[in-house]
């Protein structure tokens, strides 16, 4: 009889466990998700742990979310899908999500931006009034997604201010949106609206594009048995940038010349600098002055094969021709040293003759990890200031 009671108790316990994993078990389970690696490493153990975590009580969602703070890209996806499973199961079964705890999590900016955003999205489901409390204050949020919602709200407000008597208010709102925005589409929209209201906007500066370059070329990039030999050829600029020097180019002696990117997106058009050519390589160099050592990103776009050096060290290479060019397509973290930092960009054009293969150039901007412009200390012009810097 006693054994039957024990059996029933064990069964009841097992049933409870199957519905909700005890809190004490969450740590080891999360550790298995954190341990996943490339090439399927640790997946079997992680899949078992994931099933248990998916049965966790919704009250533990903040703990699951906090696990994202230190998760690598693969582990983050294991954890976030478990969070989805817990939250969705809770809502579908008529339960409630811990809205106050989720809101507290969102407000705590020490947590990973992605974790806070995920918490916010489930909070929004549990409490539709939450956005009104959280979004207006997110203009300087470290989460680009939270910030985007805040900027969108400002842009909407500004667009509703019609008529000359509200122009000053609209300009102020658009200006605020421009300063806060980190996504290119919102930056472009705010700039366009400001210009339509008679304001001057230095968009290239707002993005952080380097516009003042020295360029030299063209050099040969002829194809030899299907290979563009100029890409790996070491022309004189690669052995040391001396802006006062000259060297042999494709058509004779070439020298460094000034080139200023004049458009909003800092495009360096080597077809303009050197004339339209095929199977050629060109170089561009720019000095960037940093007040101190700082970790930043360079974000580059090009339709051509590239190599990029910083202070003589190769930091990126992209051997791709005419595969489409998109803003920020190549993002590379770098460390700027105090004082002068010198960028050198090699841009190779191939032999393709189609209209869409005409482009020969690049754009390069320096920014922080959210996409805010980081400007060279010697850059002329007035900085747009705002609360979100």
């Amino acid at each position: 009889m006693k054994s039957l009671a024990n059996l029933l108790a064990a069964g009841l316990l097992a049933g409870l466990v199957s519905v909700s994993a005890p809190a004490a078990e969450i740590g080891p389970l999360l550790a298995k998700l954190q341990a996943v690696g490339p090439n399927g490493k640790g997946h079997r153990e992680a899949a078992e742990a994931w099933r248990d975590l998916a049965r966790t009580d919704a009250a533990k969602l903040p703990d699951l979310l906090a696990a994202l703070d230190h998760a690598g890209p693969l582990a983050a996806n294991w954890i976030s899908t478990a969070i989805d499973a817990v939250a969705q199961r809770t809502i579908e079964s008529g339960g409630t999500l811990p809205a106050p705890e989720l809101e507290k999590f969102v407000r705590d900016r020490r947590h990973a931006p992605r974790a806070r955003r995920l918490a916010y999205e489930w909070l929004r489901r549990a409490d539709p009034t939450a956005p009104e409390r959280l979004i207006p204050g997110a203009l300087d949020d470290p989460s680009v997604e939270m910030r985007r919602d805040a900027v969108a709200r400002l842009l909407d407000q500004a667009s509703e201010l019609a008529g000359p008597q509200r122009k000053a208010d609209a300009v102020a709102l658009y200006h605020k949106a421009l300063v806060a925005a980190r996504d290119a589409d919102q930056i472009a929209l705010a700039a366009e609206r400001l210009r339509s209201l008679g304001q001057t906007v230095d968009l290239a500066r707002q993005f952080g594009f380097i516009v003042a370059w020295k360029v030299i070329g063209p050099f040969d990039n002829d194809e030899d048995q299907g290979s563009d030999k100029g890409y790996d050829a070491v022309y004189p600029p690669e052995t040391g940038v001396n802006l006062a020097s000259s060297c042999p180019g494709r058509h004779g002696v070439v020298r460094w010349i000034d080139y200023t990117a004049a458009d909003d997106y800092g495009n360096v058009d080597l077809n303009v600098a050197f004339g339209v050519e095929k199977s050629v390589a060109g170089y561009a160099s720019a000095d960037f002055f940093s007040a101190g050592r700082q970790e930043v990103e360079i974000r580059v776009a090009s339709d051509n094969a590239l190599k990029i050096w910083l202070n003589g060290k190769l930091i990126d290479r992209r051997h791709v021709y005419h595969g489409s060019s998109q803003l920020d397509q190549y993002v590379t973290p770098i460390v700027l040293q105090p004082g002068r930092n010198r960028f050198l960009v090699k841009v190779c054009q191939n032999a393709q003759t189609q209209d869409w293969a005409r482009g020969w150039g690049f754009q390069l901007r320096v920014c922080d990890r959210l996409g805010a412009a980081v400007l060279s200390g010697d850059r002329p012009g007035k900085e747009v200031r705002g609360e979100s810097r």
């Binding site: 992680a46 693969l74 989805d84 489409s324």
Partner: protein, 463 residues
Amino acid sequence: MWRFFWCTCTCPRKRGHGTQLSATETKLNRVSSVGNALRGIPGVGKGGAQRSSRNATEGVPYSLLRVAVAAIAVLLFCGSDWLQFRGTDNASVGGDKQLPLRFGPDEHVAWKAALPGSGPSGPIVVRGRVVVTAASGASQDRLHVLALDAASGKLRWQRQLWATGSTTHNPFGGVAANTPASDGRRIFALFSSNDLVCFDLDGNLQWLRGLSYECPLARNNAGMASSPLVVGGAVIAQVQNAGESFVVAIDASTGQTRWRIEREQAPIWSSPTVLRGKTPADDLVLLQSRSNFTAYDPATGRVRAVYDHWCDTIASATTCGGRVFLPAAGIHALGCDLTAGRMTLLWSQPRLRAGESSPVACGGRLYVVKDGSILVCGDASDGRILWQLRLKGPIWATPVLAGGYLYLVNHDGLVQTVRLGDKPEVVGGSRIDPGVLASPAVADGALYFRCPQSLWKVARISP
């Protein structure tokens, strides 16, 4: 040597693919137990043995039997499902059942469901679930996999991930560009970022691979769109671009790499195609490139046959009756001679030049949408042009054939229904949301259309 035969049915699904049985857990368990029982068969062991006679069970490697059992399970329970891009056999054919020729808001639209993001990927249908992928966010780095109830359109589950690879893409396309695939028990979703994730049918995560996270130079600035193929218990992903390029076979149950082969570094957006053999163990994987067309053994990655000719880069090959119809500035009809290790040209027809959508072969005929939105029908036996029909375009989505009608949806969301035969005719024009790039799915007497932000089910509904 492969034996060629013409499929004369309206549905070319072979080996009983067209048979629909009720999908009960009891039956699935029974099939699984057969698989378990096989492990005890004397002589059915692991390893290394050469492939034995097709008719003999004795001496067949266990892995092949396991693949066969899994394939049988898929056939039994997913007979009328639509398990991957262009359907279970990549044939774009959805059976004999006649579907609505035209439909509208109050006519034959069973349901319409909102999606959390955009994407050119098509839906698949597996055991009562419609599965679709989407991407959202300013840079489309939020990846979604959704399963909706096929009967009601209600969301069964949704999971989100963050892209671990590049999300750079042509604005016309999207990051959710690759149609997901299923083996009837699991779902495999691949994105342009080369994130490949596996869920079971209830949304439980099984494994995930960041193929670009593992190989950062495997990326395409215009986006990648090749859909995964499930064959022989493996998920085949063709990651081919101007950077690091490869084809990888990933074990469907474990997520581990079975084999990986370097590929030409030149972009391809077409998808792997299955060439069904006499038994599942004889199935082949066909891959296009800019320099050749290759048939691989999905179990080992061994090259079984090569056709030394460049291929189109967007439209994918299709097969019917053992023949391969390869888009290569026109159609090249190929026979596969495994003994000689080559594919041989039977005929070629430059006037059957596919635009962006893939050809459809069925009933001895070949249907191709060429540039200018002209539907061209050719005789599959010799490539003779039989007729042409101008449609309203542009048409990016591969058409589907069901009940003797071809359904073509253009980018504006106009679904044109063409009655096939010797005198083709557009018999229906129906509207869904604009911006369509995805090929529809056909399953259980219904059509499923994926629009940028919505999913539609169209089925006969009695007034």
